[in-house]
């Protein structure tokens, strides 16, 4: 719908006005996100933290909407194109839900049946911060030694 009169100055101003509007909206959303983030630093209540995180995720989705709809111009495309883009993205809902649910269930399983895992998450360790920083968890452990790891296989 925007193509026929793209030369007209009126249309030009409309577009520029829209870009300005979206820029402001995105900036405001980002600032609100940051304010929430700063606020969250000193909050210890788990429930409130979760609520703030939920709010941040909603703001994130709003930002994504404005970028896709206006910057990527999707809102001004015809409906056919919008639908073929948006409908497949709905797959993400189950993609995210199932993965996170199984991650959560895996943690519960380990907390219940893996004493080592449970114990590790209760032992406090000293800060390693800035302490020269080179004595960390080793990297090349699993390259070490040639191992005969054939247990997994049922060979003989």
């Amino acid at each position: 719908m925007s193509n026929h009169d793209s030369h007209s100055a009126e249309h030009h101003h409309d577009v520029i006005a829209e870009i300005k509007k979206v820029t402001i909206i995105l900036s405001v959303l980002t600032i609100v996100e940051l304010v929430l983030g700063f606020w969250m630093i000193d909050i210890t209540s788990e429930g409130l933290r979760l609520a703030i995180k939920g709010a941040i995720v909603i703001l994130m989705m709003a930002k994504a909407f404005y970028i896709v709809a206006y910057f990527m111009h999707l809102k001004h495309e015809i409906k056919n194109l919008i639908m073929t883009i948006v409908v497949p993205l709905a797959l993400f809902i189950w993609f995210i839900a199932a993965f996170l649910a199984d991650g959560n269930s895996f943690r519960n399983l380990r907390n219940n049946y893996d004493p080592h895992f449970k114990e590790q998450s209760t032992i406090k360790v000293p800060e390693k911060h800035h302490a020269g920083g080179e004595s960390h968890k080793a990297t090349e452990k699993h390259e070490a030694g040639s191992t005969e790891k054939h247990e997994e296989k049922a060979a003989h």
């Binding site: 199932a98 993965f99 991650g103 452990k141 247990e151 003989h156």
Partner: protein, 600 residues
Amino acid sequence: MSHEATLHGHDSHGHDDHGHHEHHDTFLTKYVFSQDHKMIAKQFLITGMVWAVLGGLMSVLFRLQLGYPDASFPWLESILGKWAKGGQITPEAYYALVTTHGTVLVFFVLTAGLSGTFANFLIPLQVGARDMASPFMNMLSYWFFLAASVVMLSSMFVETGPFSGGWTAYPPLSALGDASPGSKTGMDLWIIAMALFVVSSLLGGLNYIATILNMRTKGMSMTRLPLTIWALFFTAVLGVLSFPVLLSGLILLIFDRNFGTSFYLSDIFVNGVGALSNEGGSAILYQHLFWFLGHPEVYIILLPAMGMVSEIMSINSRKPIFGYMAMLGSLFAIAALAFLVWAHHMFVTGLNPFLGSIFVLLTLLIAVPSAIKVFNWLTTLWRGNIRFTPAMLFAIGFVSLFISGGLTGIWLGNAALDIHLHDTYFVIAHFHIVMGVASMFGMFAGVYHWFPKMYGRYLNNSLGYIHFWVTMAGAYLIFWPMHYEGLAGMPRRYFDFSIWESFKQFAELNRFISTVSMIVFAVQILFLINFFYSIFKGRKVTTTNPWEANTLEWTTPINPGHGNWPGEIPEVHRWAYDYGKDGKDFIPQDVPVGADESSH
């Protein structure tokens, strides 16, 4: 400036050019760096066939081990060298063969070889386009596939052998370089080959989607598209949306292998080394990522075969396809459900049982569109004037296999039953019948049907009949007994069953399966002979429309050049299934609708 006008002007110009410019092709531009979709299709087909022979040969070799675990075949040592010391395949070689057989058949033959061939060949011809949307990207797609093939092939010649941890490449076997001989260089090459393959499938898939949506000729509305094109469209969408997830999974795997991360590793104790410091990862995460591709992949393999079978059945029954819209809806339903059911491959990983039950429900839902398709195929056949060409036989064989294999899918999709059947020969039987052999049948049907269009000659019918009947009987003789073995608990991927008391009873049966598999393999060689003989010496096609079909590819000359139609692209006035309408045997799509014609 009228944006719109430039758009369409741009489109049509770019593609009319192909028709009019007859530049002289050298051997290199015509056969090697070709941008003609028909030549690229043939390149995919031939490469796929090379892989099919190699992959089939591998299965014969490991069937030899399973059927004759105690025998020694000195000739094996001369082929395989140190992998078959004393004429007996070593366990390492056995696992390498099984793994490579799976990877090659699933990705290189039934994905690239099947949809690469027929999407390239049929999409522009059947939608009425001069070529793909981007012929250059199409060429790149083949070259990335070839590069992937070369890398995969080279992994078979490295010192430590190809990857040997199963085609699914689960960590830790794939993540720890010392886990098995194949986990070293072989695995690196496997990852590189798969990454190249993902690129190839992306380039191809984008092209197929853009071509089907944008390049249809006048009058070719979406509901007039032949079902083949719809199937290839959904296949491309599945590939474009699911392969990137595998790519992500593989990138994380590369980091685990080479950069000391532990995305997939946790709590691992290695004999002689002790506990590894890798903490906090989850091998199940890899399985989720892999199967998020892996399940759609099954339909990437199956849907093109379904589409081609629908069309071949309609043509050779001289009847319209039964329930076109239902076929379309079920294709869509299958494609959508394909993304929602991946964890039914993971019921025994410790998956949350509640989550598992949702996956069971979604999985069993697939039976509905599948059954719709089966009934529609059967009703298409019902009271038709069936012509039993080899293509038609393979199409009917496809339906038979799809039913037999699909039914066991309902067993396996059920978490309670799957816990007993998981990783047994029952699973092998299920997926080989429903996806492996069935898609292979779809591919054979396609080759027999479109060979005249590809090469301007016919395949030999008698050899075709032998090929069909032996393959059909062989498929059931090989895989049917495996159901019983699986029910009895015989696990897959074992090197030698003769040392277990409970599986000794199957020694005879295993030998039988192995023997049949060799016979079936020999018949495929017969097909290859038929194929290559017919390219050069086959009976020549004398009419443009040898099967009396309605679709647009049969309106081109017998040997169409680059650009497909010498003149204007025909306009489309009807759907592709006007068979036996108003007393006419068939009415091609480009025939205008008559004034007194009944509407369908």
